[in-house]
């Protein structure tokens, strides 16, 4: 589905179904340097199980035009304008990594429009190393390698993909290579500069499901503890033998948790 937001073309994958804003809409938001394809299995499932689904490409990502948004707060507000453009009044937001920060912030800034949120691979704050930022700023391939290698758990680096015949490390770096120069840096910098997330947790009233990977080196479980303390009502699940790329490493487990979360949302604040 193609939309116009802020006068720029925006693409959203709708799970191979016509999008219907009246069917309990779900908006999936990808992580830094990635696009809608990271949500393929999950978005396809829900589009065929009673939901209007949008796995959106953020500005300058995937098939969407425009320039990259420079802060998590900007991205959260952009989600509001995306909902306006697609006729969505309220939606469940599901985000991964940087997308999880966007979801978190959107729930704080636009509480009347967010029914519930699922944040995957999140920590608040989400600091990024100087080495990675520097390599990304210079558009060096090393930045993609760092994200890809640090992003996958030790097990995933040896394979065992649930999608038959697919090599996760190859697919991961290839997707990052498709992002335009400057996009990965803009995303990583936005994550690094997101300072007020913990304070904004107090503004989140909707049900929250947090999904973490036990072996995540980019958003380690221990780094998520301040957020989990701030979101006392959140339901938290840690997937074993899983790194930061949870939808690639454990797609079935992530889908099962999403199904459960949407069936029985965690309690509200």
């Amino acid at each position: 589905m193609n939309l116009l937001v802020d006068s720029h073309d925006v693409y959203a994958y709708t799970g191979a179904q016509d999008f219907d804003a009246a069917r309990n809409p779900l908006i999936f938001i990808h992580g830094g340097g990635l696009d809608h394809t990271v949500w393929l299995l999950q978005s396809r499932y829900f589009a065929h199980h009673g939901h209007g689904v949008m796995a959106v490409d953020l500005p300058a990502h995937g098939r969407s035009g425009g320039a990259p948004l420079v802060s998590i707060e900007d991205m959260a507000d952009w989600i509001g304008r995306l909902m306006d453009a697609s006729g969505i009044e309220t939606a469940t937001l599901i985000g991964h990594s940087m997308g999880a920060l966007v979801v978190h912030e959107a729930a704080a800034r636009h509480p009347v429009r967010v029914r519930s949120i699922v944040t995957i691979g999140i920590s608040v704050p989400m600091p990024v190393t100087d080495a990675l930022l520097s390599a990304a700023k210079a558009n060096e391939h090393d930045a993609m390698d760092m994200v890809n290698i640090w992003g996958h758990g030790a097990g995933a680096q040896l394979g065992g993909n649930q999608v038959p015949g697919m090599w996760m490390m190859g697919s991961g770096v290839r997707l990052l290579e498709q992002s335009a120069p400057g996009v990965l840096y803009a995303d990583l910098n936005a994550c690094n500069e997101y300072r007020d997330g913990l304070e904004h947790s107090a503004l989140i009233e909707c049900p929250v499901q947090v999904i973490l990977g036990r072996d995540d080196r980019m958003s380690p479980v221990r780094a998520a503890q301040p957020l989990l303390q701030a979101l006392a009502h959140a339901r938290v699940t840690v997937i074993e033998n899983c790194g930061h790329m949870l939808m690639a490493e454990k797609p079935g487990e992530v889908l099962d948790l999403l199904i459960a979360a949407l069936k029985e949302p965690a309690g509200s604040a």
Binding site: W150, G160, Q162, G165, P251
Partner: protein, 437 residues
């Protein structure tokens, strides 16, 4: 700052795609010798059929043992994914059939394995797909042969049997400038000697029967996708960029991004053409790949010794091995194949056809058969076997003479191989004296 460490080739050869079985603790890859897989429940079954969940349904399309092999070769080649096929020929056919329709055209190197030549020259035209064959040593010939309906450029890293070295980097640039992918048959080199994706190729296939297996006990093929070709920008490949009525109107690029090609190959080609690999075969080939780095290095080391022996022998007219300064592609080989130029090469005996026949009949360790890449050393006379369908002109164009002998050097003691070749050459030259040609 250097990028963080990732697993290297030798480690991936042993581990990529497989972790100890969580149920039984089996360290080796189990052979999942089953046609089909029980569904968890009806919703899961529907989701598997509708590409909403990952998993196995039926072993013609995917199988857990095969999936380990597919991941392993993807890891070694630097690709996004792969698919096992019944043979190397099936892999080549699957590559073509996934992206090419009737009325299309292929530009191919003319120095090919005889089976590949047959497929392109005689069989594909029956399905409306024509091929122009060009000199692999002339990149400009590839460019000149491209037509508006061309959809694929194809070649072998080391042409069979002349070992013409393909300038993959230059030919890939030519292909990409025309919006076309480059498909490489990498059977002779394996990823240990050359990773074509690092030089710009887009798709690679192997006859895994050869060096990847190494044991000569299993026929199989592998097709690997680099995930780099921009199918959408090319605007020439509707099978990947337009809704496919045969699978939920799926637009493969939209849904799978960099994995569009290999997913279509599985969801259409494996399903409809059905040239699948047995899980037992996948297991056998995995056992071979576990020692690929060690074996390939030994193949190359032995070959260098054999080549040196033949090159210095008075009864040998010529030796066609790219590491020799006399080979026309010597300089290119040094940059493209720094670890070595494989273990298959040809040479010409003095005395022509009669001497060649006597040589073949006299070797004791080398086996006379139609295969290469076995752990055991092999020998063949191409003009009467692998290339027998070619007339004299076609043979000449492929760089073969009637007296050419092709060797596949195995892992035996190099001195034993040299002794065997020496006594066979000696016998062949006695024929030469008796039967001058």
């Amino acid at each position: 700052m250097a990028s963080p460490d990732q697993h290297r080739f030798d480690t991936l050869s042993l581990h990529a795609g497989q972790r100890p079985d969580p149920t039984t603790g089996a360290r080796a890859t189990p052979i999942y010798q089953t046609t089909s897989f029980v569904f968890r429940d009806t919703d899961t079954a529907a989701a598997l059929f509708n590409a909403e969940r990952a998993g196995h349904v039926y072993s013609r399309i995917s199988n857990p043992t095969n999936a380990v092999l597919e991941e392993r070769i993807s890891a070694l080649e630097g690709g996004v994914g792969a698919i096992c096929t019944a043979s190397g020929q099936a892999a080549m056919h699957l590559a073509i059939a996934t992206i090419i329709d009737a009325g299309s055209h292929i530009v191919s190197s003319r120095s090919l394995y005889g089976g590949s030549h047959n497929l392109l020259a005689y069989t594909m035209p029956r399905f409306g797909i024509e091929t122009t064959f060009v000199d692999p040593r002339d990149p400009d010939a590839f460019k000149k042969a491209i037509q508006p309906n061309t959809r694929l450029v194809f070649g072998e890293i080391l042409g069979n049997p002349g070992l013409d070295v393909l300038d993959v980097s230059t030919v890939s640039k030519i292909a990409h400038e025309a919006g076309l992918p480059l498909l490489i048959d990498s059977t002779f080199t394996t990823p240990y000697l050359c990773r074509p994706f690092d030089h710009g190729a887009d798709l690679v296939f192997h006859s895994a029967t050869k060096f990847l297996g190494g044991h000569g006990i299993a026929i199989g093929g592998l097709l690997v996708d680099s995930g780099r070709f921009d199918w959408e920008a090319s605007e020439k490949f509707p099978t990947l960029t337009e809704p496919y009525p045969g699978f939920h109107n799926m637009d493969f690029v939209e849904e799978y991004g960099p994995a569009a090609f290999i997913m279509r190959a599985r969801k259409e080609g494996a399903r409809d053409f059905g040239a699948c690999m047995s899980p037992s075969t996948a297991f056998h080939i995995l056992q071979g790949i576990e020692t690929l780095p060690l074996r390939m290095q030994r193949h190359v080391d032995n070959t260098r010794k054999v080549v040196a022996f033949l090159d210095a022998h008075d009864a040998v007219d010529w030796v066609g091995y790219p590491e020799l300064p006399s080979h026309p592609d010597h300089a290119l080989a040094k940059s493209l194949l720094p670890r070595g130029c494989g273990a298959v090469f040809s040479f010409g005996l003095k005395g022509g056809r009669a001497a060649g026949r006597r040589f073949i009949e006299t070797v004791r360790i080398f086996s006379h058969l139609a295969n290469v890449g076995d752990a055991k050393s092999l020998v063949i006379h191409p003009a009467s076997t692998t290339h027998h369908r070619m007339d004299a002109r076609a043979l000449q164009a492929a760089g073969i003479t009637e007296g050419t002998i092709r060797l596949s050097v195995g892992l035996e003691d190099a001195d034993d191989l040299i002794n065997d070749l020496g006594q066979a050459i000696k016998a062949s030259q006695k024929v030469r004296v008796a039967e001058p040609t």
